[in-house]
Amino acid sequence: MSGFAGLSIAMRALRAAQMSMEVSGHNIANANTPGYSRQRVELVESLPDLTPWGVKGTGVEISRIARVREEYLDLQLRNETKLLGQWEEIEKFLSRLELYFNEPSDEGLNNLMSEFWARWQDLSLTPEEQTSRSNLLQQSDVLANAFNTLYDKMQDLRYDADEAIKSYIQEINSLAQNIASLNKQIRFYEVGDAVANDLRDQRDEMLRELSELIDFNSEEQPDGTILVSIGGVNLVNKVFTEEMSYRFNEEGHIVPIWKTNNAPVEIKAGKLKGVLDARDNKIPTYISRINEIARAIISEVNKQHSKGWGLEAFSSLRSAYSISDTGEEISSSDSGLTFYNVVNDGDFVITVNDDSGNTVSTDTVNIVTGAGGTTTDDIVSTIGSDFTSGISHLRAYVDSDGYLNIEAEAGYRFFINQDTSGALAALGLNTFFKGEDAGTIAVNDPIVENVKFIAASSSGEIGDGNNAVEIAQLKDATLMDNESATIYDYYASTLGVLGVDKKESENLKKGQEVLITHIKNSIEDVSGVSLDEEAMNLLKFQHSYQAAARFLGVIDEMLDTLINEVGRR
């Protein structure tokens, strides 16, 4: 044995201890770094010497610095994270909807509808009074505004979703860039057996962040780079990335696409999926339900209203709905009328009065549905396009915007009502509301200008409020869902569905959180830095270092004796 072999044993031991302490230091330093996995110096015995007396150990050797990590846990984490992101987003949007509906409360639509019908009841008690008419107008305005606001807010929410989508697309692009550049570095560092621990940690963390946003497949390549693909398109391939972009669909909303070929991105999970789902499925469901309620109120109130009499006759009247083709039957969608489907066979009456209120003529206009039925042109020709033809002292024409106008000659006025056909409701003549859905519902212009046009009367007499009672009774009529539900039933069930939807997303989100916590714990269990453990390690390797140093001292003394003492003899 050569005395110098001891020196190299000591040296390697010192280096191993030192390295281990440094790695512990590195671990301690990164204890709070997200995605960091603890590292460990793997020590092996160095290659032994063959001596005549057998195999002799030569000390310790550093095999490698390894990161402690279970790859399959990362995969699990990513799989669950993408679902968490999805439900988080849906829950976020649904809770905004809950806020908008503001139920149950005194400010929600439920209560405003009740107030609206109650004002009709009040009107039926004192139909002569201007105040009961004005109160009704004001309450109807409040109701219509509430519908408009709710509708606008929900539509705006969908545009908010677009902003979120834009920023997620940006994030995905920047993550892709980062992953690609890490790919490049890892490939550079990992020549031979080297493993770029810290860079891989960073890359794993990026992949986890990416999984929050979108679902993807990842596959490690032999050169250490990772291939990330979304729906068959390679987002990251070695050091190259595919850029995600967006275009606008016909509704003006954003659709994520691949920049190279403008093909839509296949999105199955993640926040992006959640936002898209909220924007395209969840929110529209509620918008369409509110629209249906608004449409039922508009068409049913109008139908009843056009049966009745206001306190004053019209001198001119413009339809609230426009006609795109005056030659088509008003009972057909081809006419362009929003409420074409409320038209049945029946008739309405036009009464012409002179200025002192004496009836000059009463004409019944028949409405026939189906092919060959009554068209707008037919109605115009019945009334006549000048004051002499058709009904005397009245003329009718369709203006350039497609609205039907009826005008009385100076000195004459007219009533148009007693409609059993729904034609007046479809055209918007002598109707209470205008507009076609929750976004556009409003009190019809003539009534806003003069509340005397509110048709509370079923006979034309001032003290008659029976038509107002009929309208008020619509509140309990089964107008919706194939005549199986009242407006309230439908609204209440809508809120029930919203509640269930929101609760479901909340529960799924919570479930995902629990799962992820569990997986994260497992990862921490394997890869997390424990300060206590590192302190122990420090202590352990400090002692090793001290012992190795002591050993070096002993060898030194031995060599000193051999070199300095032996030669003096």
Binding site: A31, P104, V469, D489, T517
Partner: protein, 408 residues
């Protein structure tokens, strides 16, 4: 199992968040007093919640309608009870003055009393509820009854219509609010009901020619004389006229009469538009051909009282006694109307009571699903507070020391 330092913090943080979340939710319930603050708090209960709220709102509105109707009924009740009282007075006067002990002198002064009674009843029949005349049908802004002199003859005219007002006093329950003044005070049935004219084109309409009458033999041309009180009209009838021509001629005669085709379309009815007159069509061949010969005298409050006054003024005991007899039947009518008001008032009262208790019930049901159980919330809140504080304490003890603290 290894416990990493991160995990300790992470877990501590998560537990804190969860505890705090529960704490905040309870706190919200405490602050609002409500179990349901948004649909997702109790999705299954939310629809019912909204429907209960609607029902409570509806009940409140029905109660306000009932209040309105009740006050209407009490106005009508006062008016009709006074009418009944005044009619009784009139009857006493009639019986007294119909007897032989009465003379011209007493009858003259009684006539003045009756005159005042008529005025009072007209005033009562013109009672208003707020700004609305309660007995004038839909013409609530038109004074329903007016006392007039027509050709020197005193009459009472009804200016209202027969519009029936309905109000909703419960879900789908309608009630008639008003009573038609004409039905109570003046008789719409006072008319000469025309005989069957045997038209060959039955039922007759305004355009039916008179030549179809009497099995096709037509109507003899000539004149028809109609008396209504002191007014007289002579209508000329041509054989070529239509029914419409005749009706128009009578209606435009300006003697307060109205002619119309009867309901079955078999003849022509003629009716006086005012109370207190005798309607008479003179008998001649033309009138007979038209089937309108006859006499009609309105047996209504104003008609009878006006005739009583007439009788008193003319010192005619027959007329007075006849009127005395007729007062009974018109009194009946007034009583009937009065009872009707009472019945409606009672129905309103019962509905009000029912609505009241229903509202209470519904409010309770709503409270059951919507309101938080405060005792429960308070206890839970205290518990959560406890948990939260213990958690904070335990975290400080776990997190603070590490092995490094002991390596000196």
């Amino acid at each position: 199992m290894r416990i990493s330092t991160n995990m300790v913090y992470e877990k501590a943080y998560r537990n804190l968040t969860l505890a705090f979340d529960r704490f905040i939710r309870l706190q919200e319930k405490m602050a609002t007093g409500k179990r349901i603050n948004r649909p997702s708090d109790a999705p299954a209960d939310v629809p019912q919640d909204l429907l209960y709220r609607k029902e409570i709102k509806d009940s409140q509105e029905y109660q306000s309608i009932i209040n309105h109707a009740s006050s209407w009924m009490s106005v009508a009740d006062t008016s009709l009870s006074n009418v009944v009282q005044l009619l009784n007075n009139a009857k006493a006067i009639a019986l007294q003055q119909g007897s032989d002990s009465a003379d011209e002198q007493t009858r003259m002064s009684a006539a003045l009393q009756v005159d005042s009674l008529i005025s009072q009843i007209v005033q009562l029949a013109n009672t208003r509820h707020g700004n609305r005349y309660i007995f004038s049908g839909y013409k609530t802004r038109t004074q329903p009854f007016s006392r007039e002199l027509v050709a020197g003859k005193e009459v009472v005219r009804y200016n209202g219509d027969d519009g029936v007002m309905f109000i909703e006093i419960g879900k789908g329950v309608k009630m008639q609010l008003n009573q038609i003044g004409k039905d109570i005070f003046s008789n719409p049935d006072t008319e000469i009901q025309g005989a069957n004219v045997n038209s060959t084109s039955s039922p007759i309409t305004e355009s039916t020619p008179l030549s179809t009458f009497n099995g096709g033999s037509g109507v003899n041309a000539g004149t028809v004389t109609i008396h209504n009180g002191n007014q007289t009209a002579v209508i000329t009838v041509n054989a070529t006229d239509t029914v419409g021509d005749i009706l128009q001629a009578i209606n435009n005669a300006g003697i307060n009469v109205e002619a119309e085709i009867n309901q079955d379309g078999t003849g022509i009815n003629i009716r006086s538009l005012v109370s207190g007159t005798e309607l008479r069509v003179e008998d001649n061949q033309t009138a007979r051909d038209l089937g309108i010969v006859g006499v009609a005298e309105s047996e209504d409050i104003f008609g009878v009282l006006l005739r009583l006054k007439d009788g008193l003024e003319s010192n005619d005991s027959n007329k007075i006694l006849k009127a005395a007899n007729q007062i009974d039947s018109v009194l009946d009518k007034a009583l009937q109307a009065w009872v009707e008001v009472g019945t409606r008032a009672k129905r309103l009262e019962m509905t009000r009571t029912k609505l009241g208790s229903e509202t209470i019930n519904t409010t309770e049901l709503l409270s059951e699903i919507e309101d938080a159980d405060m005792a429960d919330v308070t206890v839970k809140l205290a518990k959560e507070q406890n948990i939260y504080q213990s958690l904070l304490k335990s975290i400080t003890t776990i997190i603070q020391p590490s092995l490094l603290d002991f390596l000196k």
